[in-house]
């Protein structure tokens, strides 16, 4: 046996999956079952006590979901992963392992609008306090660190503006502060950026977007890089390091080594909070991942062509796409995602808010909806939708001002997309 390491496309198809032992089924079966029989009483006790690897109940784990988990862990270069019901659920479950009431986490101000809402409002009721920092100003992250800081949260490519984050610089801040760096890698996908290679300790995804890729299934995932030194963190992270009464006093980090965080998310987070992913959704997302490298390359190539077209259009005031050489984030894009700057970006129209609303209604091929990372091209006016709950100043800070239109460029023929924009802009 050789130890040659397979490439990304091979892992996208094979990692985690193996022909079914009993039937020989080649595609991963959908184990649409709530529960799994035990061999005997001792086997049952071993599973409940975390002494054995195996399946108990689909809220805690499921063989179809496990294939998805291993595949994404392999693509991201992590030690383990946990699939959950949505990207939002991934954020709740991951942060629940790190924060106690009264604790803080630092988050980049440029984030998906739904995350800004979740962090600002929903998490407040848990006593988790978000402190905002500016990704363009690394010092603002340093300045935000306090003794109660438990994590730093950023997006690799930020939604909606398509800006590229200097992951390595923020990873340095996190290491100095002794807290894990969490990177939401949804808009890049591991095909464009692998945040763990740049210092991330935890990677999150909304699987709903490019990983699933077909706009048919909601899902989320937490990837453990295996890099954070829980043992050396004292009693800062009791879910990982203190004896857990849920499991007769075991300490998760000493029992599970470099995949302890993923296990904590599963046995303390998912088990008790409950946002389990349906095995059917896991199957749909797995099928999507098999073509991830092909799709994301095409998405990025199309996006670049569309961005170039828009940047020359007289009705367009500006295009924010890091793949364009004149863009402010182009140098970071060349460093972090040389294969392409993703497919989600914004542009502003000279005609302001009204022109944005008009463009959206005139487009015939772009679908007007609140999602990104579908095979289909999508368009939205963030100020009136995804970011509508923010005040005007916050909208602008989040890259979602009133004149901004966001598009997620699909994998149709790029000539058709450009023709649709052309007719909609001149209508």
């Amino acid at each position: 046996m050789t130890d040659r390491a397979p490439g990304f496309a091979t892992l996208a198809i094979h990692a985690g999956a193996q022909p079914d032992p009993t039937t020989g089924a080649r595609a991963t079966p959908i184990y649409q079952t709530t529960s799994f029989v035990f061999n005997d009483a001792d086997h049952a006790a071993s599973l409940f006590g975390l002494q054995a690897f195996g399946n108990i109940y689909t809220r805690i784990g499921n063989p179809t979901n496990a294939v998805l988990e291993e595949r994404v862990a392999a693509l991201e270069g992590g030690t383990a992963a946990l699939a959950v019901a949505s990207g939002h659920a991934a954020q709740v479950v991951a942060l629940q392992q790190l924060l106690s009431p009264g604790d803080e986490f630092i988050a980049a101000r440029k984030l998906y609008g739904g995350s800004i809402n979740q962090f600002t409002h929903a998490f407040k009721s848990f006593g988790w306090n978000v402190v905002w920092a500016d990704t363009d100003d690394i010092a603002s992250f340093e300045a935000a660190v306090s003794p109660r800081t438990k994590a730093i949260f950023i997006e690799s490519i930020a939604n909606p503006g398509g800006t590229i984050t200097d992951i390595e610089a923020i990873a340095q801040v996190a290491r100095k502060a002794g807290v894990p760096l969490i990177v939401d890698n949804t808009l890049a996908s591991p095909y464009l950026i692998r945040p763990i290679d740049h210092g991330a300790d935890i990677v999150l995804h909304s699987l709903t977007k490019f990983l699933g890729g077909h706009g048919n299934s909601i899902g989320g995932i937490i990837v453990d890089a295996g890099t954070f030194d829980w043992a050396g963190s004292g009693d800062k992270y009791p879910m990982l390091t203190q004896p857990r009464p849920e499991y007769h006093g075991i300490r998760i980090h000493e029992t599970f080594g470099n995949f302890a965080f993923a296990i904590a998310c599963r046995v303390l987070g998912l088990r008790d909070l409950g946002p389990a992913l349906s095995p059917f959704n896991a199957f749909m997302i797995l099928t999507g991942i098999e073509t991830l490298p092909l799709r994301v390359q095409k998405h990025s190539d199309n996006a670049k062509a569309v961005a170039e077209y828009l940047s020359k259009h007289p009705g367009v005031a500006s295009v924010n796409y890091a793949g364009l050489p004149e863009d402010k984030y182009h140098a970071l894009a060349r460093k972090y995602c040389p294969k392409g700057a993703g497919a989600v970006f914004t542009f502003s129209l000279k005609g302001g808010y009204d022109a944005g609303v008009k463009l959206v209604s005139n487009l015939k091929l772009f679908s007007h909806l609140a999602n990104v990372g579908d095979t289909r091209s999508l368009v939205i006016h963030p100020a009136s939708t995804t970011h509508s709950q923010l005040d005007d100043a916050a909208k602008i800070k989040a890259g979602a001002g009133p004149d901004i239109v966001r598009i997620s460029v699909g994998i149709e023929d790029k000539e058709d997309l450009i023709a649709d924009l052309e007719q909609a802009l001149s209508a």
Partner: protein
């Protein structure tokens, strides 16, 4: 031997080749990692011997505790040391006095003593440091994948039917060459005083 990363073939060869394993530092407490590993290895068919002077007179899964390696009185294939790094050397010295010599010295996850490793290797023993045999067995059988863990192996062959727990499979292709870049970075970070 490079002890930062191990080729999967090396680990697989050890786990397929050994039968009698003495676990130094085995604990009868059901919540200790050593208990988890001991029980798992018994269930996978290894002939396990618990070594812990503090528990002589008791037994672990029906196997009586002994105080030291010298008290075992029969040939060992592997000594699995469940002690922290500073307690490794005396155990290796004790193993070196056995005749015949054990074939493998295995130090648990988190434990590493390069000087002890060098001594054991000079005597012809194979050494593994900072790994858990349960995790490695689970990884190389892909059973650990049920917990969403990256086994770092792939296979297009039909998986073995897991009756009494999955068995070590010889036909899986290694993905990462046993390299755990992230784990190595963590280990490096730990020794970094900043």
């Amino acid at each position: 031997m490079n002890h930062d990363t191990y080729p999967d073939d090396y680990i697989r060869g050890i786990l397929n080749g050994v039968k009698v394993i003495a676990m130094v530092g085995a604990s009868p407490s059901e919540i200790r990692p050593s208990f988890f590993a001991f029980k798992y290895l018994v269930q996978r068919g290894y002939d396990m011997i618990p070594v812990n002077p503090g528990h002589v007179g008791k037994s672990l899964m029906g196997r009586p505790f002994v105080a030291s390696l010298a008290d075992i009185g029969r040939p060992l294939d592997m000594v699995d040391i469940f002690r922290s790094s500073q307690h490794i050397m005396p155990v290796v010295d004790e193993a070196l006095k056995l005749s015949p010599l054990p074939k493998v010295i295995w130090m648990q996850l988190g434990a590493r003593d390069d000087a002890a490793a060098e001594k054991a290797e000079a005597a012809g023993m194979k050494v593994v440091m900072n790994r858990c045999p349960k995790i490695e067995y689970g990884r190389l059988s892909s059973e650990i994948s049920w917990m969403g863990v990256n086994s770092r192996t792939i296979s297009a062959k039909r998986a073995p039917i897991p009756t009494q727990g999955m068995r070590l499979s010889l036909n899986r292709t290694s993905v990462g060459g046993g390299a755990t870049t992230a784990a190595d970075r963590a280990a490096k970070d730990r020794s970094d005083p900043t």
